[in-house]
Symmetry: C2
Subunit: 208 residues, 2 copies
């Protein structure tokens, strides 16, 4: 795992080799185990492999080439309805004895339903957190199989929503997936720097 985290790089250059449905499903079979807020799993993944679909997405992403160069580009969506899966999730908690009794299950479902009335900004941030956790798991699960990825935040979310009919969902991130071109600059260039531990970790008090 450690080597997967350390070795993963954001790759823009891919070889012309498709990703089978089976391979993609294997990756998500792992990625679906990411944690999420109250295990509510507000994530949906729109996987585009056809040229025409990738081109439509590319137009929403300021023409970035790797959107179509990659075998697949995934639109990571966050459900803006926090209670979409609340019944199933808390029934499961009750059945597996994470909860002492049914009344607690009912309170949790009620809590998630009440979250529907929070400000839109709150729910956008809420779903973004869980969807990003899922996206990170997705990229590691892919890299573990030799499939490179590149997360992209630069796209027109409104255009994605309109083009792909994702009303009610926050387009959180695009993630390209494909077998890397071993000669591409992203793999041959020196690795981009990361801020050192002593700068990002603050023990006991915050002193940035």
């Amino acid at each position: 795992m450690e080597s997967t985290i350390r070795s993963r790089r954001s790759v823009h250059g891919y070889v012309d080799e498709p990703l089978s449905t089976e391979t993609i499903e294997e990756i998500f079979e792992v990625a679906r185990f990411a944690p999420s807020s109250y295990n509510l799993q507000p994530w949906e993944y729109l996987v585009l492999r056809e040229e025409a679909a990738k081109t439509r997405l590319q137009e929403c992403a300021y023409g970035q080439e790797h959107v179509t160069d990659a075998a697949a580009t995934v639109v990571v969506l966050g459900n803006l309805d926090p209670a979409a899966h609340a019944d199933r999730v808390f029934d499961d908690w009750l059945r597996k004895e994470y909860l002492p009794e049914e009344s607690v299950r009912d309170e949790l479902v009620e809590m998630a339903r009440n979250w529907r009335d929070r400000p839109t900004e709150t729910n956008r941030i809420w779903t973004t957190k869980s969807a990003a956790l899922g996206a990170m798991a997705l990229m590691y699960a892919a890299w573990d199989r030799g499939i490179a990825s590149c997360p992209m935040g630069g796209f027109d979310a409104d255009a994605v929503r309109e083009e792909f009919g994702t009303d009610g969902y926050e387009p959180v991130m695009l993630v390209t997936l494909g077998y890397p071109d071993e000669d591409c600059a992203d793999l041959s260039n020196d690795r981009k720097f990361r801020r050192p531990v002593e700068e990002i970790v603050h023990f006991g008090s915050f002193d940035p």
Copy 2:
């Protein structure tokens, strides 16, 4: 890696064993390799181990017991200034030939600086994405060493900001860290369900 993703569970029960500074730094030495928007790495990690500090945090987190039961609780912070590290990041890109020439480097720095003028909501979501990617890497890097974690979204962000002086940073998530109590319900109960691949993955078009 796959087994780390599959086996990681959110753990609330910890044994009474401290986490050394060295161990924590080793975890972050891995986690810092997470990707982020334009590699701008807007993450900061406030690591609390002293009882008094964890108790102050617990009061901001509705009294949740694992905040103090864990050996360490980490406040994952997202910098609300997108350009905080822009000069260093794009100098690095130029030096390592990710960019063709200095003018492109300058344009990128300018872009990040212009992002300061985006609506607060946009920058909150922007920093949340990268900080959540970092938090996921952190939890996997920890679990790889047998250190359990639990991400928490339920806390009073304003109280955290006031108590720990994190103005200018979005408190994105709390993450408890510690050696798990092998007898705790989180490890002995059946694993919580995850939505199946055929439900969360949409090939070609979005049809939730």
